[in-house]
Structures are given as C-alpha cells and as structure tokens.
C-alpha cells in the first residue's frame, strides 16, 4: 500500500498527470451538473448522438491537419446540437430517428475520411484513441487545459444562474411557457451547453463513452435522493468521486482511463441502486 502511494506521488509530480486530474474533475463536475436535467428532459440520447458528431469532426480536423482540433470540433458540435433540438420539435423526421441518423452518419463518414485520407501509420490506434479516449487525457497541453477551465466555468455559471428556470422547464414546459419563460431560448442554450460538455468529456473518456458521464451519475443519484436539488448535488459528488478513483486506478494499474472511469461509474450506480432499495424500506 505504502509503495502504491509513493508511486502515485511520483506520478503526480509530472505535469501531464496533474492536467489529467484537473480536466477529469472539471468534466465530471460539468457533465453531472447538467446530467440530471438532460436525463429528465429525455435529452441524454442527444448527448450520445453529439459525441459521434464530434468524432466525425475530429477525423475531419485530423485529415485537414488542424493542430488544435477544438476550434473545429466545438462549433460543428454546437451547430448539430441546435439542429437536433429543432428536429425534435417539428415532426418531419422524428427526434430519435434524426439523432440516430446524424450520429451513425457522422461515425461512418468520419471513419471513412480518416481511412482514405489519413497519412498516419497507426490509423487504428488513432481511431481507437478518439473513440475510447485511451491515452488522449495523458497528452493534454497546457492550452487545452486552459480552454477546458474556461468552458467549465461557463457551464457551471450557466447552471447556477439558471438553476431554477432549468428546473421549471424540465418539470413542466407548458407551465413555464404560460408564465412567460422563454422556453425555446433556454432549450437552445441547453443544446449549446450539451455540445460543450460532450466536447469536453471527449477528452476524458473518448466519444463512445461520453454518455456514461452524463447518464450514470444522474441515475445513481435519482435512485437514492428525492428532491431536484439533492439529486443534483449528489450526482456531482458521485461523479467527481468516481472519476477521481477511475483516474487513480488507471494510472496505478496502467489501464485505459476512459473505460476505467466508466466501469467505476457503473459500479457506483449499482451500489446506489442497492442503497436506494435499503433506504426506501
């Protein structure tokens, strides 16, 4: 045990490990903060669809040789988020079908583009990294960390300022509309924030596993707690805890970071379910 702690301290002296922790905790915070709203508004699948869109955008950026792909990926994902939300509202293509279409389309075309145009010698490795985030969190630059901090502050700020309004439009959209809250504007903002979270979370767990960060903490928390506020607070706590444990295990046992975090989140969910059953007795 003592040895493990020593080993961990040595690792912590490397800047990239510290970056990984900072980004990991911020992403866990943001995704879980809005996760409750997204799950209850039935938006969690949009998050999944967007992560595939982000994958497509990453592959295009890689092929184009854009070194900092955030500047392409973020706007593309935001635009898709807004479009998906609009599609959900008018019934020409049903919301869930539209999401499936966009996400599979982006995934397929993204891989195709990478396969045809990429000059990289390790194509499968690149794709795997983008999908499962295996090593990308360990290769964060200081710039990316800074961007991540700024975006997280925006997301957290958005949540705190509009907390009650988010509650109202999540709980009863019609009532919110009737009392003069501009529901469409808030939904639009929410879509943008989802996109930001997805792009942030991609750094941590890769695009295939992004939804896990949004969905697991919210569901875990909802199985124990009863009010909107306590559910939100606890989902942040559980998310940050699980992510930290996941990163530590990944470093010490040299497992891939993203899947490790998701596995811990899943374990956390199961524990919460059991705890929930016991509490309700």
């Amino acid at each position: 045990m003592h040895e493990l702690i020593n080993k961990f301290c040595v690792y912590l002296s490397y800047p990239f490990v510290r970056y990984a922790f900072v980004v990991g905790i911020l992403v866990a915070l943001c995704s879980s903060l809005l996760g409750v709203t997204l799950v209850l508004k039935r938006f969690s699948f949009i998050g999944d669809g967007l992560s595939h869109v982000a994958f497509g955008a990453v592959s295009v950026a890689t092929v184009l040789g854009i070194s900092d792909n955030m500047f392409l990926v973020l706007p593309v994902t935001i635009i898709c988020a807004v479009l998906l939300l609009k599609c959900g509202n008018n019934a020409k293509v049903k919301g869930d079908a539209a999401i499936a279409m966009v996400s599979v389309g982006a995934l397929g075309v993204g891989y195709l583009i990478m396969n045809i145009f990429s000059s990289s010698s390790n194509l499968n490795g690149d794709v795997c990294t983008t999908l499962f985030g295996s090593a990308s969190i360990m290769t964060l630059t200081a710039d990316k960390v800074r961007l991540c901090i700024i975006l997280s502050v925006i997301v957290v700020g958005f949540f705190f300022v509009f907390y009650h309004k988010l509650f109202s439009i999540t709980f009863d959209e019609n009532f919110a509309k009737a009392t003069g809250i501009n529901v469409n504007a808030y939904n639009l903002m929410l879509a943008v924030v989802i996109a930001v979270i997805v792009v942030l979370a991609m750094n941590l767990v890769g695009s295939l596993l992004v939804s896990a960060l949004i969905v697991f903490p919210a569901l875990s928390s909802m199985s124990i707690f009863r009010s909107f506020k306590s559910v939100t607070v606890f989902s942040v706590i559980i998310s940050v805890t699980c992510t930290s444990i996941g990163i530590i295990i990944a470093i010490l046992a040299s497992t891939p970071v993203g899947p490790t975090i998701v596995a811990i989140d899943l374990a956390g969910y199961l524990i919460c379910r059991v705890a929930g059953v016991i509490v309700r007795r």
């Binding site: 509309k177 009010s227 909107f228």
Partner: protein, 236 residues
Amino acid sequence: MSQLIFENISIGYEGKAVAENISFSVGQGDYLCILGANGSGKSTLIKTILRLQEPLKGSFESCDGFNFGEIGYLPQQMEMQRDFPASVQEIIMSGFLNRSRFLPFYKRSEKQKAEQIMNTLEIFELRKSLYRNLSGGQKQRVLLARAMCAAVGMILLDEPASGLDSRASSEMYESISRINRDGTTVIMVTHDHAVAMKYASHILCVGKKVGFYTKEEYCGRVVKNNIFDKGENDNA
C-alpha cells in the same frame, strides 16, 4: 374595472376556427366559468388567453395595468414523468419564476408567501415530500399552490378537478372559492354545470353558440330553456 377584454375573437388552430365571435370581459375579483362540450375550444381559449397561441381573428387586451405575466395557470392533467425527483416545495416555488426574471434565487418575501399559500391549502406538512408519491388530490393542490405563487391578480384553471374523487374535487373547488373571496380573479374551465352554478359570478359558453352571461342571466336562460324543452315534449 376590467382586467381583460375580449371583443369578437375567433380561436382555433391551423387556420380552422373552433369558436367564433367570442366577447367577454373579466373584472377584478370575478369568477368566470367557461362551459362547453369536448372539442368546443375551451382549452384553446385558455391557451389564447395565456398567449401560447394567437387568436385567428381579432385581438384582446389587458386593462388597468394588468399584466399577462401575472396570470397563474393550472394546466389540465399534467403529463408527469414518473421518475421525476422533485419536492413539493421546489415545484411550488417555481411559480415565482415569472417575476424574478434575472434573479438566480428566490427572495425571502417569496418564501414567506409560498409558506402562507401552503398553509391555506393545507399542504405545508407535505413540503418536503416527493411529488410523485402524493395522491391525486394532493398533487392537484400542489399545482394550485404553484399557480397561486405565479398569480398576482388572476388565476386560470383548466379542469382543476378532473381525475379526482368527489371528496377531493369538492375540497378543490372550496379552495378555489376561498382564493376568489380573497380578491383573486378566477377563470375556470369546467364541464360541470352544478359547479359553475354554485361558484361562478359569470359564465361563458363556447362552441357553436357563444354566449357571455352573468350567473343570474344564465340561470334565467336555463329555466326558460327547460320550460321550452318540456313544452316540446308535451306536444310529442
């Protein structure tokens, strides 16, 4: 003193009118019941008053400084998500959001008002409970409390007693009547004539025939029509 004036307005959706030439006015402290058969446009009228949709023809206005953002609304049978975690207090407080537009928190005065409303409706003890575990009558009273938080001068109720048993619904109507006696204008959609006759001060019929009456006028008409019906029956 009128808060709301409708003049020759047609309502409907997608260009199809469901009710035409509706005229009525609502004054401070009135209790207006909107009567009509299913599909006669009662709910459409409510949505029009709330400005969730535009009237097909004509326009309406508020008077005496009455503000549309100050209407409290109790929707008809809300589709509740089964797993929604929300405490009674959180739901009731969300009624205030129309006024504290840019404040990220609730004011102390609002908390006090909510407490007072909860006491009036006898749900103060439930304030920490989970909404989805409440009985139908309790849920409806919570939503009424939320509407009261939102209301400054007027409260709009769409079939407030639908789905309630007779005891819960008469309690509901008594609560509404009490709110009205305290000076809040009530506009209520109902299909229950007896309720309208018991509580309303004015009655608006929508559908093929549109009419706006005070209760006395309406009673007179009902009596007359009944005699007329009887006469016809006698002839047959």
